[in-house]
Amino acid sequence: MSAAPATRPPLSRLTLVELRKMTDTKAGFWLQLSVLALAVLVVVVNALAGHVQDHQFMDYFSGTSQGLSALLPVLGILLVTSEWSQRTAMITFSLVPQRTRVMAAKTLAAVVLALIALAIALLLSVIGTAITDPGVPGTWRLPPGAVGQVALYLTATMLIGVAFGAVLLNSAPAIVIYYLAPIGFGALGAIHVLDHPMLWVDQSRAMEHINDRFLSSTEWAHVGTSLAVWILLPLAIGMERIQHSEIR
């Protein structure tokens, strides 16, 4: 019998464990690798196609972050749902019975992954630009605010995944609904009277230009409200569900 440490596992350690869980399985490893491959592909396509003037740093950066944002939510979803689909939730929550702490660690892990994705986007953009440097002035221009906007964009899409995973606790439906929901929102927005109101809740429209230009204050308001709908609402419902459900 050991002298048991009377302290809870710190959140930083739980976050590292969550990050480890994302890569230490076969499926997790290949998924991370395919996200990376997609980003590389975007750079290659961008380098081969288009005009010389399109080979500036911001073109690469906006392209790779768009590409990454297509798959990051899947990582966010699996970060939560794999515990249920692989039934490891029983182990996780018996070692850490405070379920909100586990979910906090998963959310932090998602933010870390999003920032790693940002670093990858920056690095690949540097490589792409260096190889195809068109030599026009401003090729290497990178407004600091642009990095901030892309960081926010990647983090937000990642967290949307976490929130969808938390509310559904099942990988396949969460992934399907994540990709179908924007179509539904778009269709609603196509109805004339709903066009303007939908700007406040449809995150894909609200964040449409976040990668290529600075947003106006109204546009920021749209981002804020739509992210509340896409992240805070499902996350709150999901947390409530996780907190009170029986772990199977």
């Binding site: 009377a6 302290t7 596992p9 692989q86 009170h244 772990i247």
Partner: protein, 296 residues
């Protein structure tokens, strides 16, 4: 120590666990017996904070499980050996647990060796594990934090006879050092040999609990006579109820002395008269849980 008081769980109005109260003391092994679906797993989940009771409460080491600061160091849990990520290597699955509760990597290797998973097994992905190997991995996981209490759901499932012997020795040793063991099974012989205390559950209710000796006393007397018919008559006239045991004798719902007197007054010579031991326990377990066995 584990204490449960009136634990109750309902699903859609139907009680799957009802008013279950028991206590597991340090230094003892408690066997939790019952057919599949009787409520063993649900009870254990309520003890471990994975399911919220609708009524009653349970404590582990004097507090609610959820209130133990770093429970991996005090309570070892194995609720379902199959519930592991199949794409993760065995050693990695243990490392994740070790990191979570904060024990060093050396402990992982130590436990892999202790449960008999060699280097090549530890490198394999859990998908390739037999159920027996998963049980060993699960036991190693439960022991990671050197706990004082072990809670194991059907740990003998999938173990071969050698594995059963190994686990019995491990659990006996754990209890001998002052640990508390609470394990479940749907098969009597898996726990009969090691349990100091037995809890028998059926339809969500505890139908019997006590030490092996106590249950045996209730399990009656095994008696044999060359003239079985005369014995049946003698017991009947003494007002004792008897039922056939598997091997030709009778199990009588009374202590040996009462059975002996009945035989004496009936003038029947006996060839065997003793507490029913295993045969009686088996019959008791079967009687207590029979309806469900038939449904199954």
């Amino acid at each position: 120590m584990i204490e449960s008081s009136g634990l109750t769980k309902r699903y859609g109005g139907r009680a799957v666990v009802q008013d279950v109260s028991f206590r597991c003391d340090p230094g003892t092994v408690t066997g939790f017996l019952g057919p599949n679906g009787a409520g063993k797993t649900t009870t254990m989940k309520m003890v471990c904070g994975l399911a919220a009771p609708d009524d009653g409460h349970a404590t582990v080491l004097g507090t609610r499980y959820q209130d133990i600061a770093n429970p991996g160091h005090r309570v070892g849990i194995l609720l379902d050996a199959s519930a592991q990520h199949p794409g993760r290597r065995g050693r990695e699955a243990l490392t994740i647990g070790a990191q979570t509760i904060g024990v060093d990597d050396g402990r992982v290797d130590e436990l892999l060796e202790r449960v008999g998973l060699d280097r090549s097994a530890a490198r394999k992905r859990v998908r390739q594990y037999s159920l027996g190997m998963r049980q060993r991995l699960g036991i190693a996981h439960a022991l990671l934090g050197d706990p004082e209490v072990l809670i194991l759901d059907e740990p003998a499932n999938g173990l071969d006879p050698e594995g059963m012997r190994w686990m019995r020795a491990l659990l006996r040793d754990f209890a001998a050092k002052g640990g508390t063991v609470f394990l479940s099974s749907h098969l009597l012989y898996e726990v009969d040999a090691i349990a100091d205390q037995l809890l028998i559950i059926r339809d969500g209710k505890l139908v019997a609990q006590g030490t092996r000796a106590e249950l045996l006393a209730a399990a009656g007397t095994l008696v044999r006579a060359p003239d079985n018919d005369a014995l049946v008559r003698a017991l009947a006239s003494a007002g004792l109820s008897a039922s056939p045991a598997g091997d030709g004798g009778l199990i009588v719902d009374a202590d040996p002395e009462a059975v002996g007197r009945a035989a004496l007054s009936g003038g029947v010579a006996l060839s065997h008269l003793a507490p029913s031991e295993h045969a009686g326990l088996e019959k008791l377990f079967f009687d207590l849980t029979a309806d469900e066995e038939e449904e199954a």
